[in-house]
Symmetry: C2
DNA sequence: CGACGCTTTGACACAACTCAACAACCGTGG
DNA sequence: CCACGGTTGTTGAGTTGTGTCAAAGCGTCG
């Protein structure tokens, strides 16, 4: 039974791109299933799976990743509240990556057919979803740049800068602090490093007075320093036009 | 003056995803400008530029990349004939990466407004374009996995496997051989390595009887060996359903 | 013919990885 | 309440893959 509260996290996000009409909000509310609770460690989509749904993360932390034959994995992204997961997989019909809850989380599902209908009936919604997808792709591109061309410390700093900005946009971070339940192992799999090296890098960041990570919280201590170290340019995250 | 030949490279590509109607083919032909010749080394889009167009590469080789403040760059992708460039940038209104012709090339431009109209009038075309964009994103994701978690030699092998498959799909490669005008410097910027190290890696691949690169041509000598070395799974490139 | 771009090779340096050990933390069950 | 095992974080020592610097070989094109 679909929920009909207009103010879903997804609606709030798309609304920053263009102002949605009442009908569009209704449609958006209708295609999302009732919230489903996920336990930490639960997999929602597995690589290679077909016929699955898309998801909207309502609360909690998750990651999408690809596994390698040697047991390693590369984390592609960390969806946070309001982010869509698996839009691409739904289109390609078969999932090209896995999706895992990192904390207890809440998601809504979106049927392929519902989404298709919604997009054809409300082209502006289609445009908004496309914008969201474009933003996600821009993040993956920036991630690729980090891993390909930035040193471990630059890359780590850049990662936290981006995360801080994303969390600020949804009101989950202040200028100086935010919650971040990512272990060093998880960070390592995202940054293309070893957990041990992540630890050393975090120590460097701390010793240089830039940023501290403790007990699941990140404190930003020198924003300007982090920006210049990482070369972070947040333009790709905003909907300013 | 728009060309009206139905059989553009883009049409051929989208046709592998779903069979296009006569009207859709016409629309596709109409939104593309007459072919424009590009000289090797010419930039089509620069990072940060606004108000630009999207492109369809008709012939030749190009790359999209992001520059870093220290002068380095990360190449994101190598568009080949039939590929679209800058769909995302057009949506986000401001280009988030640059685009450069690596050989003399031919492109058509697509106006933002034309594309938008085309998508709203012909939803199936929208779906097809979305499919193409999804495929591109899947390639970027795979690229990220390579750079983040594969060794230099695995990554290089993977790159050539993917390239071979893409070129085969447009009839520009045989099972064992294809043209590839990419210098070792360019490869390095794509693979997150140094040109010097690319050279060493290519030597290893040659000495192990896997693959040789000479005079702008790649010869695949041990497909099975390359597959198992690189872990290449080409599923994300196909339109099979 | 010289100049330039690209490739190849060698010697060396260093960033990040591996292995190993231990400390801190946390939820669980006795 | 404490004891416990498992997960996560921390640190050191040694290794290795890749980067850096330097120089020479080769084609190609003007």
């Amino acid at each position: 039974m679909p929920t009909t509260h207009f103010d879903s996290v997804l609606a709030r996000k798309l609304n920053t791109f263009l102002t949605l009409t009442r009908q569009e909000l209704t449609c958006l509310a209708e295609i999302q299933s009732a919230p489903v609770k996920m336990k930490r460690g639960q997999e929602l989509v597995q690589e290679g799976q077909t016929g699955h749904k898309a998801f909207v993360l309502q609360a909690g932390w998750a990651c999408s990743y690809k596994s390698l034959s040697d047991g390693g994995r590369q984390i592609i992204s960390f969806p946070i509240a309001g982010d869509c997961v698996g839009l691409r997989s739904v289109l390609l019909r078969t999932a090209d990556h896995s999706f895992l809850a990192l904390t207890d989380a809440v998601v809504s599902t979106v049927e392929r057919s519902h989404m298709m209908r919604c997009v054809t009936e409300f082209p502006r919604l289609g445009a908004a979803l496309l914008w969201a997808a474009s933003r996600d792709e821009a993040m993956v591109v920036e991630h690729l740049v980090s891993v390909g061309r930035r040193s471990a410390i630059e890359r780590t700093a850049h990662f936290f800068m981006e995360l801080a900005e994303r969390l600020m946009l949804i009101g989950e971070a202040t200028e100086t602090e935010f919650k971040c339940p990512l272990s060093q192992f998880v960070l390592a799999d995202a940054l293309g490093l070893t957990a041990i090296h992540v630890n050393r890098v975090l120590r460097q960041l701390r010793e240089q007075g830039l940023l501290t990570v403790r007990k699941g919280r990140v404190h930003i201590q020198d924003l300007a320093g982090l920006r210049s170290l990482s070369g972070f340019q947040g333009g790709y995250l905003n909907s300013r036009r």
